[in-house]
């Protein structure tokens, strides 16, 4: 399985500011995923990021609010823009496993964001 790190691990931000979250993988992967996990809730997919193409966003998430970069096969960033308290969540990146078609995913430790 891939080893995934995220920075920062947590942050407290002011309303109206933006935060960029980094995700680093120890091996080259085609697809990377960004999820949001609100307090006490399950995971909601924000977008899928493939290297060399625009990220694909899920319903309810837009590029202006959550711009994503994928400059190479081991790295991605998610920016949470113009933050409000409703953006307080854990943000997780993940990558697909190597077992083939089973769509297993391996997750980073998450970034815990609190917006005041």
């Amino acid at each position: 399985s891939a080893v995934i790190s995220q920075k920062p691990s947590r942050d407290i931000c002011q309303r109206g500011t933006s935060l960029t979250i980094q995700c680093q993988v120890d091996s080259q992967v085609t697809m990377m995923f960004w999820y949001r996990q609100q307090p006490g809730q399950s995971l909601t997919l924000i977008a899928t990021a493939n290297q060399g193409s625009e990220a694909t966003y899920e319903s309810g998430f837009v590029i202006d609010k959550f711009p994503i970069s994928r400059p190479n096969l081991t790295f991605s960033t998610l920016t949470v823009s113009n933050m409000s308290p409703e953006d307080s969540s854990i943000y997780l990146c993940s990558v697909e496993g190597t077992s083939g078609s089973y769509n297993e995913q391996f997750f980073g430790p998450g970034t815990r964001l609190t917006v005041l």
């Binding site: 399950s42 997919l45 297993e104 997750f107």
Partner: protein, 109 residues
Amino acid sequence: TQLLEQSPQFLSIQEGENLTVYCNSSSVFSSLQWYRQEPGEGPVLLVTVVTGGEVKKLKRLTFQFGDARKDSSLHITAAQPGDTGLYLCAGEGWGKLQFGAGTQVVVTP
């Protein structure tokens, strides 16, 4: 509406007891995964079940995939405090991994 319904939402048991968590859907899945998430960490993949009726064991954890591939269960025998965590089932649907709402399990010494 969750594609995958998990029950119960919360389970608190004493060390040494057994527990079962359920994951149900009206949809058929080609595979289903179980993850465990501990506080401050991302979900960790425990197992993938693929074949209808399949049973997989991981030490004290037993995973079963329903014959129709619409439901799954996770059974923990003689639970230990280290089993505490959020258990999530997930299945591939509409081109992405769909997660259930999770079952929070607390095992007290």
